[in-house]
């Protein structure tokens, strides 16, 4: 009997080709769409074609599955998605931090619940359309970057539980996006030309400020205009309230200065933002919380490659574990290290793990 594989179907071109590949590999596939969000709940008037939880996307997933002779089911995870991802996203912004909801979704919802569903449906493996690879080395499994450097999604996978890797298949890691589209075109899949998915899947219009203001009205209503400080702590202007800014932001600060000014620090408690010139935003250290290792028993200090934002560049660093605190020291100072964002560790192409960036006071 063929082994069963649960294939995550968002209804886009990537998941369609993932399903195709799984069938070509000789598995028996089951298509599953995880319904994570109800757009009508907050700002549902801005639906676009690429909203993955919209009925039209789920309909696409069903059509593709039928075409390939595979059953399709939609499973409702809206409650846990709201609890673990959306609430956290909003709360992080309310604390003046910049969260990464895709990472949380993969870390706390997609993999765990998908494996759980696979068990319930008698499937040995799960498969997703992430642009990354699973490499087997003897009995050890690791994640590697996808070959398409522009699409690589290893960054958002650092938080998935290591023990699930041996049950995960990522068939798109060896392909470029263009190759994936061409495969879809060759097979005349209806989804071949679906647009790229948006930045944050649950924000239909990509306007996170609008979303937070609507979602947490009772809290954001209380945030009044804030003070803008310089590095000495002197008030040099006012702003729309800290919630509207992110570290490294240049536009919309509303101050004139011979050299452009950037947001260096956000303080939710005092409703202030501190601005400075670009050179002052470089730091060479940060602390890392909520770390997840995808390698066994790392030894410290560990020299590795780091990425501090999605699609950001790679920099050399060393991580040390001091009193259960992880401190990363960068070889070159980094611009706008942003609390709440993910820091991801690599050894060349292998994903070693990652964590959440926390501030550190530097002399």
């Amino acid at each position: 009997m063929k082994e069963k594989v649960l294939v995550a179907m968002s209804g886009g071109v990537d998941s369609s080709v993932t399903l195709l590949k799984i069938i070509e590999m000789g598995y028996e596939a089951i298509g599953v769409t995880m319904k994570l969000w109800e757009y009508s709940a907050v700002g549902g008037n801005n639906l676009q074609d690429n909203n993955c939880c919209a009925v039209s996307s789920i309909n696409n997933a069903k059509l593709i599955c039928e075409k390939m002779g595979v059953p399709h089911y939609t499973i409702d995870f809206t409650e846990s998605f709201k609890d673990k991802v959306v609430d956290n996203f909003v709360n992080e912004y309310l604390k003046g931090r910049t969260p990464n909801p895709c990472v949380r979704c993969n870390s706390f919802i997609i993999w765990d619940t998908f494996i759980e569903q696979a068990d319930l449906l008698g499937a040995k493996y799960i498969a997703t359309g992430h642009y990354a690879k699973i490499k087997k080395n003897k009995n050890d499994y690791a994640i590697e970057k996808g070959v398409d450097s522009k699409k690589d999604q290893a960054y958002v996978l650092w938080g998935i539980p290591k023990e699930t890797l041996q049950r995960t298949i990522l068939p798109l890691g060896d392909l470029t996006k263009e190759e994936v589209r061409n495969i879809a075109r060759e097979h005349k899949l209806e989804t071949a030309e679906t647009p790229e998915s948006m930045e944050i899947c649950f924000i239909a219009d990509n306007n996170y400020k609008r979303f937070i203001n609507e979602y947490a009205k009772d809290k954001t209503n209380k945030i009044q205009d804030g003070k803008t400080l310089n590095e000495k702590g002197e008030v040099i202007g006012s702003n729309d309230g800290y919630i509207n800014y992110t570290i490294g932001q240049r536009k919309g600060i509303g101050l004139t200065n011979p050299d452009p000014l950037y947001v260096k620090k956000i303080d939710a408690n005092t409703n202030t933002i501190t601005v400075s010139e670009k050179k002052s935003l470089f730091k060479s250290k940060c602390r890392v919380s909520k770390i997840n290792w995808l390698i066994d028993n790392p030894t410290f200090p560990l020299n590795l490659d780091c990425q501090i934002r999605y699609n950001g560049y790679i920099s050399r660093a060393s991580i040390n574990s001091i009193n259960q605190d992880y401190i990363v020291s960068f070889k070159e100072p980094q611009l706008a290290i942003t609390p709440g964002q993910s820091i991801v560790f690599y050894d060349n192409n292998q994903l070693l793990g990652g964590g959440i960036i926390e501030l550190i006071n530097e002399a």
Binding site: T74, D76, L121
Partner: protein
């Protein structure tokens, strides 16, 4: 699609169309395409097919043919009643476990300054007559209570409620979509003002239904335009579907007793098999239930996962309230009868129709046993 044997235990969602009905509809679609409103002979032929069906249905339900309005189905019939009868300042009584085509209209009604009282069913899944009576106010204009609950299969005391509301100057409507074809429906002896039916629950076609409106009741139409259906529903009639519904209803009525006994015997066999297989289950709404709808809690078994596992064996059952995306949430009706959410999640609906045979039942019971053995928490 390949022709794989499927095992259909979801007749409460919809039924397959009787072969005789399909043949009749095909014949009408092939030969009688004339517009029923046209003056020529083709038009007259179509017109007469509709009116013959109306008379036949009226005879069967023991009402006058002028009291039969053809609609697109239960949802439209329910909408016509609520939107056509109630006006600002009126009071409306209904139950919390009605079909969405009733309960989802409540907000809209309230926004039009219509007062609404919603009754919760008792723990056996029944709306009792006294519950309705205790909600009556001076301005109560309409009461709408479903005949049979679609999730539980529980039978409400519609004749008794009708009698109790008599001479109170209150209209009484019942959504009988889940009841029609399964039990006697005699409108001459039933004290009721309006009743909704949908053909696809009694082996007729989809997209066609009936609204019975007692003579003398003034209702605003939902769709205006041409003068079809006495000005009550504009739009060229679906001739073959109307005739198909008539035939399906006649078939159902002439086989009531034999169908009832057959379904009952299958049900008993199924429950016996579950017990023999040592499965821990409970039938919900057991006290006053029609045959063919089994709402079953399989303790410590995720209902949605049970459904999917059965579906992969080509066995169709139902879990929860389906939505447009095809996902399902916890069965709301069960929460209305105060079932703990944890148990509601372990509850599915298995509905047995006349096309099922005893081997199908054995396969279902054995499959449930195997799956539960694997997924029980």
């Amino acid at each position: 699609m390949q022709n794989i044997k499927t095992f259909y235990f979801d007749s409460a969602a919809t039924t397959p169309i009787d072969l005789e009905v399909i043949k009749l509809m095909n014949d009408i679609n092939l030969n009688h395409f004339g517009n029923p409103s046209s003056i020529h002979q083709q038009g007259q032929k179509s017109h007469n097919i509709i009116e013959k069906s109306r008379k036949s249905i009226a005879q069967l339900l023991e009402c006058s043919d002028s009291e039969i309005l053809f609609t697109s189905g239960g949802s439209e019939s329910n909408n016509i009643v609520l939107k056509g009868v109630l006006k600002a300042g009126d009071h409306f009584i209904t139950s919390s476990y009605e079909h969405p085509s009733i309960i989802k209209l409540v907000k809209e009604l309230q926004s039009k300054n219509i007062e609404v009282s919603i009754i919760k069913p008792n723990i056996d899944g029944i709306i009792e007559t006294h519950m309705v009576l205790s909600e009556i106010k001076e301005n109560t204009k309409l009461v709408s209570i479903m005949y049979v609950n679609n999730e539980l299969g529980t039978l409400n005391p519609i004749p008794e409620i009708g009698e109790a509301l008599k001479n109170k100057n209150i209209f009484f409507h019942s959504d009988a979509v889940q009841y029609a074809g399964k039990g006697e429906l005699n409108l001459s002896s039933l004290s009721i003002d309006m009743l909704s039916l949908g053909a696809h629950k009694f082996y007729g076609p989809k997209g066609i239904g009936i609204l019975y409106i007692k003579k003398g009741i003034d209702i605003e139409p939902l769709i205006s335009g041409g003068g079809q259906e006495n000005g009550m529903r504009a739009g060229t009639e679906n001739i073959s579907a109307i005739a198909g519904m008539d035939l399906a209803l006649n078939i159902a009525h002439s086989n009531f007793t034999s169908n009832h006994d057959y379904v009952k015997s299958l049900e008993n066999h199924f429950l016996k098999k579950l017990t023999e297989n040592n499965i821990d289950y409970r039938i919900n709404g057991e006290h006053n239930r029609i045959n063919g709808i089994l709402n079953i809690t399989f303790f410590q078994v995720d209902g949605h996962a049970l459904l999917i596992n059965l579906d992969m064996l080509n066995i169709a059952i139902s879990y929860g309230s389906a939505c447009s995306s095809g996902s399902a949430s916890v069965p709301k009706t069960l929460l209305e009868i105060n079932m703990p959410e944890e148990e509601a999640r372990c509850t599915v609906r298995i509905s047995i129709g006349k096309t099922i045979n005893i081997d199908d039942i054995d396969f279902l019971a054995d499959s449930i046993k195997n799956i539960i053995g694997r997924i029980k928490k």
